[in-house]
Symmetry: C5
Subunit: 369 residues, 5 copies
């Protein structure tokens, strides 16, 4: 993650990012207009080429070096991180014959996750979820362009969840090196979807901790955390629902670029999406339940407070009144003159207090609830 | 915006406008009856004619001058702002052979956004969203009539979000000048939809500010603002949901007037509608969450208030009672005569108070929560 | 509206009427059983016959006079208001060959709005909404039987929203006189649907007034009104939802009695139904929002009340305690004898009170919120 | 209703019955296992045989007497009330060639209402609603087996809503005697559905009474009643929703045993189901509204209580403090010695109290709200 | 259940298990990767082979002994409990030609319940519900692999709900011994579904007990139990909803391995799923209703507490003030000198107190509510 990006990571902008961050062109702009913000990261381009026999990995600093690299005998994966150079992006688009609307979808992030076919290649827009510093949710669009012998991936910020895929290519684990571009695209999509699991697990833990906190002692901070979690779940949900639809499209519709074997693997991806949605919805309900739990804890606590006040006031107000009566300065208050009066009064007061405590005890107001 | 219109912009009428403003004919009126309110703005008619080679723009003051202007070699866009002249509207309708029900849909605003085919032209009813003075939401119907070589647009009030489209025509930006009437209609529709983004962004900011305010200090004013925002989101939602359906109809159904290229662009419009709906629904949920946050803040605050009251009462009531006891005027209260009595009592009172503070401190009632 | 009916218009029966008023036969009764309540209004029968050239209107007192009146050259509209005469209704049913189940649907009101074809005629069950005395919602079933050259309308009570239709027939406004029975049925249906607009407008105004009231000062009465409005909206919704389905059936399914032109007009009716549903749902959400607003106003107000109490108690309890201390009658309280003691104490008390006011002021408890 | 059954009618078991009463076999039991509880009523079997010319009714005590009774010239209705004799049920099942799964559905009550075809007969599982002692909802499964010349009905407890059907057969009312078994099955189904109306009416009345009570004075008992009504509506809803589906299946799917005329009558049944669902959903919303009304009444009332407390405390605390000050025993309190001091103080106190009452009056705290 | 597993059964892990326990591979792992946790139970393999004539049951300790055991003349059921040995699982998978993705679904529990066809066999993923120690819900995945002459079942922990099925095989009860593998798979599926009934019954009882408790005295503990029940119902619901879909797939889609008779039995399974869903949804609504009931009980109780406080304060504050007035030390307070003053004052005070009690009694504040 660039320094550039990190400086925006204070709470306020983070919130905005999660809910509404579309870099939409100015109203009425021509279709195909690219919107590149000033502090966008400069693109880092990395090339991985492999087939069953060998693999080659390279950082590309001069984009023109890419020309003619892609060839039908190898799978070529070009991975672009950072969208901060319009010229470079347009060059790549031209090189691989991307449609202008396709490029717009790649650059003007975030789009809704979707699958669209253009000019013989397939654009898969997905969204990955990552946690920074344990608690800071970051959702980044990953755009996958699947061609017959190349795969392009674009993302806005540096850093991704795809290292495991690269590792499988380098070390020749599983069938990835023996398979075509469609399997690579599947592997990338699968990795972005799998990336939701650890994020959700961390949400699960936070919800449990919160529940324990709220049951122990309901503080407003807990409520604000619930509110934050609900907003972040909302944001994850907005990413995963359309992703499910998109993956379903890939599974259901036959497309020349995707082999039946890969389609079977995609069915697995689809199951994961559905399961993630299940968990998100469950967490949203749990978070809603915590809100209720909080409110009722507050209400119970208020009853506790009021009970203390009422017991104290009910016991001492009558007694204080009695003391006040015998503090009056009337000349003719015969009982003031009797020797037995004071002890009698004190005994009476004790009895009144005792009787009231008994009454409140029976009512259950003295027990801690 | 005309003076005429502006004078109605006080809060009350604004609220009415947002939710229910149909200029419905009197009950049982003949179909095709036009309802024109007295203070409707006089129509301002503007003609833009262009093809790839040239462009001409003109304010039309005499409506008869329009006759015969439209011709197959050019795209003719007639833009009517203000619906306050039935005669003029009927003349235009006749000139371009609009169906009576079509004219009714154009004049008796607001209709639900929809697409309907009449007599070989296509009526697209959309709704644009604008903010006046930063916070005042205004939603206006824009009716687009798409013919083979003309496009008519009608709107109720002066002012629109289409200047960027006019600018692209004048400056020949993008492919608009090389394309037909269907592209113009698409560009207009696209601009009205794009116009929702800045409006939603402003809602997003207001929601964030409100959240900060409510967390800092929950005042009733914040709640009224949440209530207002919810109502306005409701109003936006009532515009954008049927618009999504309408655009979907345009994308899905083949219509002679709309070319495949334009249909592909409309698919983009459709994506934007869906994304706007996503954001609106998310904001509605956030607004609902703020309501909960407010209520629980209020409840927490009440607990704080009650705790203060209870602590004070619980400490001072017993002490006051003791002071009352020794203020009684009984003749025989032997302890009153002892020299050590007063300091002992004061020490006892201090101990009682100290013990109670300790008790409340342990209970956590003295901490600010 | 008959005297008979009016006497039932107290609040309680009105509530029942809105939600549950089916005149269902006794359990297990034979199908086709008519249920006529004792205080049902006597039917008033009115005949309107017209074609493009002339129009004739007549009150029918002797039902046998109707026999043979209907003829293919004219449109015959027989309008029956009041369902209090089983014999008369059976005679009419026989005269126009209505099916027994059809008659049951007409008489045992209210049925769900629906469209059903019987024996070559079409039964359209709709429901009209009227306001009595500005605030009293009344929903009445209107049953329209559409035959090839006659239209019958039945309703339970006197008074309807169809005067404008009669006026258009009498004055030959629009195309109604030139059109057939299907256009008349459409006009009647359209008038009943249009009749919802003014009712909803009145609801809109009541909701706005309520909002203003609740913001100004939340009284329980306001809440009861919200509750009433919600119930009435529920009742309108129960009428309009199935009506939308029914009109949709008319638009979608081809039926010999309905011409394509009329079907196009019905599409307009359908749009109105959808728009009314939109408004009803919006109002229901607004009413729900008012409930929340009310509850949070109450909660805020309670905080205000508690703050006043707490501030007063916190200031005066310690002071009263101090006064109590120096009101004690111990013989040896040396400070009682000092001349400076009283002014010093008073100054101390003022300082304590001042310090507390300052503290509460800083906490924001003294400001009106 | 048997004594046996009645003894279980205390509140607790009633609640269980309403929500969860499936006599499910032990886990993993063989399909077709019948579960008969120990205190099930002994079956009472009644035979009604009729055609257009004559009718015969008989209590059957020896089940073997039934053999060969059913014949194609008559409609044979065998009505079994009570499921407490496995042997008898198996004999009947064999006699009329019922499928084992069919018998399981009949005996292991309650099943979800449904329609299933087995071995050339049709099993219709429906559920009837009855009120015992005005307020006690009882829902019993009625299983109807429709064969070509016989109809069997089974129910768990004695007593039903079918007396009107028997009456129509005995007295030859309507077309029932002239029709076949399908009409009888329809008549029985129709009677069970019609039986919901009086039950719902009673719910309607209870809801209205509750509303009046809550508005007058919100007691916790009212809330418990709302809670009970909600649970019972839930239970009715669980019966009527699948019944609607089942009747719809009968209307939609052509089945050899059901004539077109009967199908038309079933359409009417279907309408009733939909209407009952409408009413149930409406009542559920009303009950939810009452819950809100109750909570806000409680909240309002609390405000009233707090206002009284605050007004009293705010007036008397400062006054008591003043009285306390002049009750102090300092030697040098010069104002104690002045003759005008006491009346002045009393006047001052009256002014303070008056001013506070004025203040609270202006704030509206003295008005009953 | 192994010791290994049991030690995790404290409350916290139990909660996690219920909601989110997917043993997902590390992000980006190759498809087909098996995830086996360290403390997974070692597999216990049991073989049951039967046909109509004989049955054989065997614990398998050496997995190679299984090779060649399955033969077309018998139904072979291999039951694997515990997934803690990757090698063993891979051996079995190879032996019975399971697809790698199939094995992944079996091992990486829990998957969503589903039905998938692979390589000529059918994978049915279901989930069983069990209660440990009466209140501890445990949901375990059961994976059923249905081949032409074998059935494999896999589950994570020891212990299941299938003993009744084994008993039916051993004792030759019902048709299971005469039927093929499809009936065995059905019987297993049916047993897992039937296993939900006793679990739900226990939930029903807990909800009823809770309701009684809350009505008697609303303690926070009751609320926490409601919260726990809601979470567990959520967890059951997440198991049963997709199971319904899966069973529906089995009923609807024709598959070579499943005979029409078994499909008919599966229809029964489907009905049970739907009924369980009904009950779960009903319980969720009831639990929600209890939450409301709790909150309103708390609110009512608070009113009771406040009423006591207010009555006490309202009576004693004015009296104490009066006593304070006559305790003042002014030299000139003539009434102090009168003999009648003291009794008069006491009588006045009694009257004030009595009048106030009367007032509060009329207001209904003295009644227990």
């Amino acid at each position: 993650m660039s320094k550039n990006h990190r400086k925006h990571n204070h709470r306020h902008s983070q919130r905005t990012r999660a809910v509404f961050e579309k870099q939409h062109p100015s109203v009425g702009a021509s279709p195909g207009t690219l919107v590149i913000s000033e502090d966008a990261s400069k693109p880092a381009v990395r090339l991985i080429q492999y087939n069953a026999d060998h693999v080659r990995e390279e950082e590309i600093h001069d984009i023109t070096a890419l020309a003619g690299k892609a060839n039908p005998e190898q799978v070529t994966w070009i991975d672009i991180q950072g969208l901060g150079d319009e010229q470079l992006l347009r060059t790549i688009a031209e090189m691989f014959q991307l449609h202008p609307l396709e490029l717009e979808d790649i650059v003007n992030v975030p789009q809704r996750p979707k699958v669209e076919a253009y000019n013989g290649n397939l654009l898969i827009v997905t969204r990955m979820a990552m946690l920074h510093d344990a608690h800071l949710l970051e959702m980044d669009q990953v755009s996958i362009v699947l061609g017959s012998h190349f795969v392009l991936t674009f993302q806005e910020h540096y850093g991704d969840v795809l290292d495991a895929v690269r590792h499988r290519i380098r070390q020749d684990i599983g069938i990835i090196r023996k398979s075509g571009t469609d399997h690579l695209a599947y592997a990338i999509l699968d990795a972005t979807i799998d990336g939701y699991y650890p994020v959700l697990e961390s949400f699960g833990e936070r919800l449990e901790d919160l529940e324990d906190q709220i049951i122990a002692c309901a503080r407003p901070q807990a409520l604000h955390t619930v509110h934050d979690i609900k907003r972040e779940l909302l944001s994850i949900r907005r990413g995963i629902w359309p992703l499910r639809e998109a993956v379903n499209t890939l599974v259901r519709d036959e497309h020349a670029l995707i082999s039946p074997t890969t389609r079977m693997h995609l069915r697995d991806c689809y199951d994961h999406c559905v399961q993630i949605i299940d968990v998100v919805e469950t967490y949203r309900e749990l978070a809603g339940g915590l809100m209720d739990l909080y409110l009722s804890s507050i209400a119970s606590r208020q009853n506790d407070i009021m009970r203390v006040l009422t017991v104290i006031a009910t016991i001492f107000m009558p007694l204080t009144f009695l003391a006040g009566v015998y503090g009056m300065n009337f000349d003719y208050m015969p009982e003031l003159r009797k020797q037995w009066a004071y002890p009698t009064l004190m005994a009476g007061m004790t009895m009144i207090a005792g009787w009231m405590l008994l009454y409140f005890g029976r009512k259950g107001w003295l027990r801690q609830q």
